[in-house]
């Protein structure tokens, strides 16, 4: 076995040193009747070349060569090549959680820089070292708000990512946190009147997403006013991190629960991604997850350590702020490098390109189909309603190697034949024009079918 660094002679010498004849003796604590006396029925040992071939084949069966208009919490942005060059350095890739600070300053300083940039971009005072993803981060933010306020219920906008809401629901059930859902208006934004009614004296937090699931930007200030007036906290979930380059961050939020996948993390069929929580300084001791902090060594030299560990499970056990241990460190490093590459100016320019592509695409689609929620500003997603079922349109698009927008029927049946489309800086004009052309064709054929109907009846 090529990963095992021992010769038969090494093993024999070690057994002798231990004073046993066979390695089987070391397994004698396992009761004989439970010892496996056969080979596991798993595939035989494969050569590296075979492994590579097998996975390349799977890649070919997995949408390789398709261009896509999917977003909905997972975004296809360009990944500068320095990201993979750097995260594959063994000292990052194959190191553990930096508990032994003297031997892990690289990881710790990188986390400190990550926390700084996330704070800066979200408009919060501080950020943690990462959470599993945007959905679990949002659920942890709700539990954090419950701890801070001592109240026990939460109000969640219906235009928050439906799978995030499902996860929050799973977590909340056993924390006995009742959840109220608030609907959205014709602009796709949260219904402020309904929100006003939903928030009460028992509300620990209001959770919204901005840009929301439909790509529409929420009026965070107005929502914050409603929440704060009743003593509730405002949690803002951000699924599309690139929006922070050009959209005003939710400075009036109390907690930002972010998915940073857009910052240099591959789509990877849904993970691993990078959740992050950011908050106000006064709430830091209720925040879950690891935190790197600056300090000095015995000689006064600057260094970094994991800090405020009394919040965490390895110290507090059942009284911890969360059960989280392993986080998404290496993915956070990808995010960190991405933010460093684009920086203060590049992130804005990148976001601007996303905005321009989307504005163009939405404009083109609106000539042939209905673009919903046009009354509010949007970032890089928009909802198109067609006459034909988007599933049918999408299967024709697949024939052109195009993956169309996400049909919304499953999550929002009331929107009818609607689909959520996304454009990023990687979406080309010709791709948009082709997709629009095919949607236009679908609209025309539905119309001509409708026109033909009375005739058929007459006949």
């Amino acid at each position: 076995m090529r990963y095992l660094p021992k010769s038969p002679a090494d093993r024999a010498a070690m057994l002798e040193a231990i004073g046993i004849r066979s390695v089987d003796e070391l397994f004698s604590p396992i009761p004989a009747e439970y010892r496996l006396a056969r080979d596991l029925a798993v595939p035989r040992q494969m050569a590296e070349s075979e492994i590579v071939d097998w996975f390349k084949q799977r890649g070919k069966e997995n949408g390789e060569g398709y261009t896509s208009f999917l977003g909905a919490g997972a975004y296809f942005h360009y990944r500068p090549v320095v990201i993979d060059a750097l995260v594959q350095r063994g000292e990052f890739l194959t190191s553990y959680t930096p508990y032994q600070a003297e031997f892990a300053q690289g990881t710790l300083q990188a986390i400190f820089e990550f926390q700084t940039m996330i704070s800066e971009l979200t408009g919060m005072d501080l950020a943690n070292a990462s959470m599993y993803d945007g959905s679990t981060g949002a659920a942890e933010a709700v539990m954090m708000a419950v701890r801070i306020t001592g109240r026990d219920s939460a109000v969640i906008a219906r235009n928050v990512h439906p799978e995030y809401r499902e996860v929050i629901n799973t977590y909340a059930t056993h924390q006995e946190i009742p959840l109220k859902t608030v609907s959205f208006t014709d602009s796709g934004q949260i219904n402020l009147k309904d929100l006003e009614k939903a928030v009460g004296d028992d509300t620990a937090c209001v959770l919204i997403q901005s840009p929301n699931f439909f790509g529409t930007i929420e009026d965070v200030e107005a929502i914050a006013d409603i929440a704060h007036k009743r003593g509730a906290l405002l949690i803002v979930s951000i699924a599309e991190a690139v929006s922070l380059g050009i959209v005003e961050p939710p400075r009036s939020a109390d907690i930002v629960a972010m998915e940073a996948q857009s910052f240099g993390v591959p789509l990877g069929f849904g993970g691993p991604y990078c959740g992050v929580l950011a908050t106000k300084e006064k709430f830091v001791r209720q925040m879950p997850g690891r935190l790197a902090g600056q300090t000095v060594d015995k000689n006064g030299k600057r260094g970094f350590v994991l800090t405020l560990a009394t919040r965490e499970q390895h110290i507090r056990r059942e009284k911890a702020t969360s059960n989280i241990c392993t986080n998404q460190a290496l993915v956070a490093l990808m995010v960190n490098i991405f933010m460093t590459v684009y920086g203060k100016v590049g992130l804005r320019e990148l976001a601007k390109q996303n905005l321009a592509k989307t504005a163009y695409a939405a404009d083109q689609f609106s000539k042939h189909a209905q673009v919903l929620f046009a009354g509010a500003p949007r970032f890089n997603e928009f909802v198109v309603r067609t006459s034909e079922d988007p599933y049918a349109i999408n299967s024709r698009l697949l024939g052109h190697k195009i993956v169309g927008g996400l049909p919304l029927k499953k999550f929002y049946p009331e929107l009818g034949h609607a689909a959520l489309w996304c454009c990023t800086e990687l979406t080309t004009r010709s791709m948009i024009d082709t997709a629009v052309g095919l949607v236009a064709e679908s609209e025309r054929s539905v119309r001509s079918m409708k026109d033909a109907e009375p005739e058929e009846v007459a006949r």
């Binding site: 397994f27 492994i51 069966e61 553990y96 690289g106 799973t170 015995k298 989280i324 800086e425």
Partner: protein, 496 residues
Amino acid sequence: MTTKHMTRKATRHISQNEGLIFEKSSPGKAAWKLPPLDVPEVDTAKLLGRQEREDLGDMPEVSEIEIIRHFTRLSTWNYAIDLGMYPLGSCTMKYNPRVNEFVARVEGLANGHPYQAEKISQGALRIMQTLSDCLLEITGMDAITLQPAAGAHGELTGLLMVRAYHESKGNARKKILIPDSAHGTNPATAATVGYAVENLKSNDRGMVDVAALAAQMNEDVAALMVTNPNTLGVFEQEIHKIADLMHDKGGLLYMDGANMNALVAKTRPGDFGVDVMHLNLHKTFSTPHGGGGPGSGPVAVKKILAPFLPTPVVITKPDGTLGFEYNRPQSVGRVRAFYGNFGMFIRALAYIFANGPDGLRQTTEDAVLNANYIRKGLESVYDLPYSTPSMHEVVFSDKVQSKKGVKTMDLAKRLIDYGFHPYTTAFPLIVAGALMIEPTESEPKEELDLFIEAMKSIAEEVEEDPQFVLDAPHNTRISRLDETAAARKPVLRWKP
């Protein structure tokens, strides 16, 4: 340092200084270039109105070479498996094969969107199904979810299913029994799922006290969470009795699979009575720890718990293709968006392929052999609080050295000077001043000998000059850091 205690493994080396990235920033530097826009420019003020962001604050402005040097320099300040043995107990710091990284970056897999049609997702689905099949065979369980993002998340998922199971019987029950040797995530998870935690004392051999369990087990107990081998590296020899005791009173047996590296291909939890367990793909199945994550924590269950698995699950459809099944009325719901840390599934499966049944068995045997070799090499020098046979890890205590005022953490810091990452300190809690050592199978005999030599040398130093050990590390870029100050006045971000 006297020449006598010079280490053979490591020597001094130039280490580059490097400030924070923000300290290198200056306006006009850039590491990015966007292609020309192929659609009309937009008036951002018109599109966004007062939602437009004008300024990104103190984000850095640096060039590409500075970024490469910055992160490369930082990386050299870390220890890593690639540099040598990383004997953290219960963390299973084994070799992370490079082919895993390579195949995880295959285009269709790395760029696959979680919502693309099933028709063009057959590759990803097949990976999920093949991995699931392998893990079920390895654990001897009946059904599995790959959705949990890490071990603790797997625990949460497992206990949610335990709860749903009991609720389906009409009574969710009130508490979870947890041995005092357990990892901190176990009680933290139980609390998250709304269960009270009841501590279970270990016996004098470091195992679950079966008599105590019999006394504590009743119809209020939903499950026992047991780690096997436990955090002492000891196999719970009466595991089948433990399972019977639980089952007789309608309770379930949860196994924390953190230490599965001691069991793969030698015994199967499903065979010895476990009802639900999680695996850590970032431990047993070689996916990289990456400085703290990502992990992946699949949860395998017996048939009785299968209806409660999170949605969706992978199924084979009537036409023979694979798909996701969402309609599962008894499911505990989702624990994460999409399907889990898919990139880790690829890596874990590549590891299983590289090993095959014979390689997996040899791996386990070598892991246990290595731990016992270290035990033999050090038992004359360090106190061994439990003489029960060790599996994949061994736990010593600082009882001898603490007489000179030197504690496990001090020994650990001195080990850094010898070119090794420290073992796990001060855990498990049932051993005062624990030194928890897990070498894994990835260490050649030579590296183990160097480690034993280093640990013996440190023990001698404690006798000769305890202060020298207390002041360690001596050879790192920075000396011991003031953690108290860091926690008292937290500085969690850079400010200009």
